[in-house]
């Protein structure tokens, strides 16, 4: 899993049937040590109902589709956790 921040939402009227009731958010990678953005923004399914500005953890590749209880969703990035705090031991920085 990776750390990211939700920075946007999308509107889509025509989707794959397995996306029923699931939102697509825009997220960008977050560097846990410095807290700055890393990489490019991309799209991810939202399994936990996160909002813009929240720090989240997301899964990639094949297991991203397995993060939903009711069905296998066709996705390669899924937001699976909303993160309250990240504690990094000073010694490692």
């Amino acid at each position: 899993m990776f750390l990211a921040k939700v920075i946007g939402v999308t509107w889509s009227n025509h989707k794959h049937y397995s996306y029923e009731g699931i939102e697509v958010k825009i997220i960008q990678d977050l560097n846990p040590e410095s807290g700055e953005f890393a990489g490019k923004p991309f799209f991810a399914m939202d399994a936990v109902g996160s909002a813009i500005g929240e720090t989240v953890a997301y899964e990639i590749s094949f297991q991203a589709g397995q993060a939903f209880e009711h069905a296998t969703v066709l996705t390669d990035a899924t937001i699976t956790a909303i993160i309250d705090s990240v504690n990094i031991d000073k010694e490692y920085i």
């Binding site: 490019k40 991309f42 590749s61």
Partner: protein, 94 residues
């Protein structure tokens, strides 16, 4: 997942028999702000999208993650049409 604009179609008579029944579309990758990137994808179309539409692609191993594409050897699949995006406080309509 990434988005891109459908810019063309692929016609292929001699192909993997498992690809029967899928429209193969040429998709030019875009970033979330709507600017074009350098990559192109040939993607199997699951939702009936046409030319000039901004679509969302699932790429890599996860593209096998549905009943239609399981064990089909497809690594880029169109799963949604994106009409509008709200990012950094402004709306971008594709």
């Amino acid at each position: 997942m990434i988005i891109g604009r459908v810019i063309g179609t692929i016609v292929s008579n001699a192909k993997e028999p498992k690809y029967e029944g899928y429209k193969l579309l040429v998709v030019k990758e875009m970033n979330v702000y709507g600017e074009y990137e350098k990559n192109f994808y040939i993607a199997a179309d699951l939702i009936g999208s046409g030319i000039d539409e901004v679509v969302m692609l699932v790429t890599g191993a996860a593209a096998r993650g549905s009943v239609e594409t399981n064990e089909k050897g497809i690594d880029a699949v169109i799963t949604a049409k994106i009409e509008k995006v709200f990012i950094d406080g402004k709306e971008i309509i594709f």
